[in-house]
């Protein structure tokens, strides 16, 4: 029972263009949604988050969109840079308590020069 799904294992984008990474979830009780970036042999690093009361959050080149009715979120990176090549995980948690994160399987993003 996969509560958070990333259906694209990989994505290839040309440098300077927009990268769009997608994530779907099934649990309507999730209150927070987060994106993490992971380089090989390193731990995931927090990128950006959004709460369920918003539908958009921006931080520099990164924007996360949340569509609660479709239980779908996406991460937009514009413009894409070579250093953005990494594995991206979406994650979700409820509010209160231990705020345990449930992760998707990850999408490997490759930015081509």
């Amino acid at each position: 029972d996969q509560q958070v799904k990333q259906n694209s294992p990989s994505l290839s984008v040309q440098e300077g263009r927009i990268s769009i990474l997608n994530c779907d979830y099934t649990n309507s009780m999730f209150d927070y949604f987060l994106w993490y970036k992971k380089y090989p042999a390193e731990g995931p690093t927090f990128l950006i988050s959004i709460s369920s009361i918003k539908d958009k959050n921006e931080d520099g080149r990164f924007t996360v969109f949340l569509n609660k009715s479709a239980k779908h979120l996406s991460l937009h990176i514009v413009p894409s840079q070579p250093g953005d090549s990494a594995v991206y995980f979406c994650a979700a948690s409820g509010s209160g308590g231990a705020q345990k994160l449930v992760f998707g399987q990850g999408t490997r993003l490759t930015i081509n020069p």
């Binding site: 958070v4 990333q6 294992p9 209150d31 927070y32 987060l34 993490y36 042999a41 390193e42 731990g43 995931p44 690093t45 927090f46 988050s49 959004i50 709460s51 995980f89 948690s93 509010s95 308590g97 231990a98 705020q99 345990k100 994160l101 449930v102 992760f103 998707g104 399987q105 990850g106």
Partner: protein, 113 residues
Amino acid sequence: NAGVTQTPKFRILKIGQSMTLQCTQDMNHNYMYWYRQDPGMGLKLIYYSVGAGITDKGEVPNGYNVSRSTTEDFPLRLELAAPSQTSVYFCASSSGTGYDGYTFGSGTRLTVV
């Protein structure tokens, strides 16, 4: 500013051996977590803790034990290692706000042969 420190970085165990994965954080976070990452499977929660002396099971706790005697330390114990425990293990900590995300360690790559 070390953040979350995990040791060792790599380890090979024989079937039936035991070991402890160490995790220390210096951010005074109450919440700490252990995840494992299998190829293509995302991160799965093993155990978590909401404060010193309090631990609870996550999604995949079988074969593992934890303790939390101080705010800083959250070791993970593997008893009677099995090949199914071959994975990359990540420790993380959080302030518990939900939208700030976790800070992860760099991981321990464990192989059981």
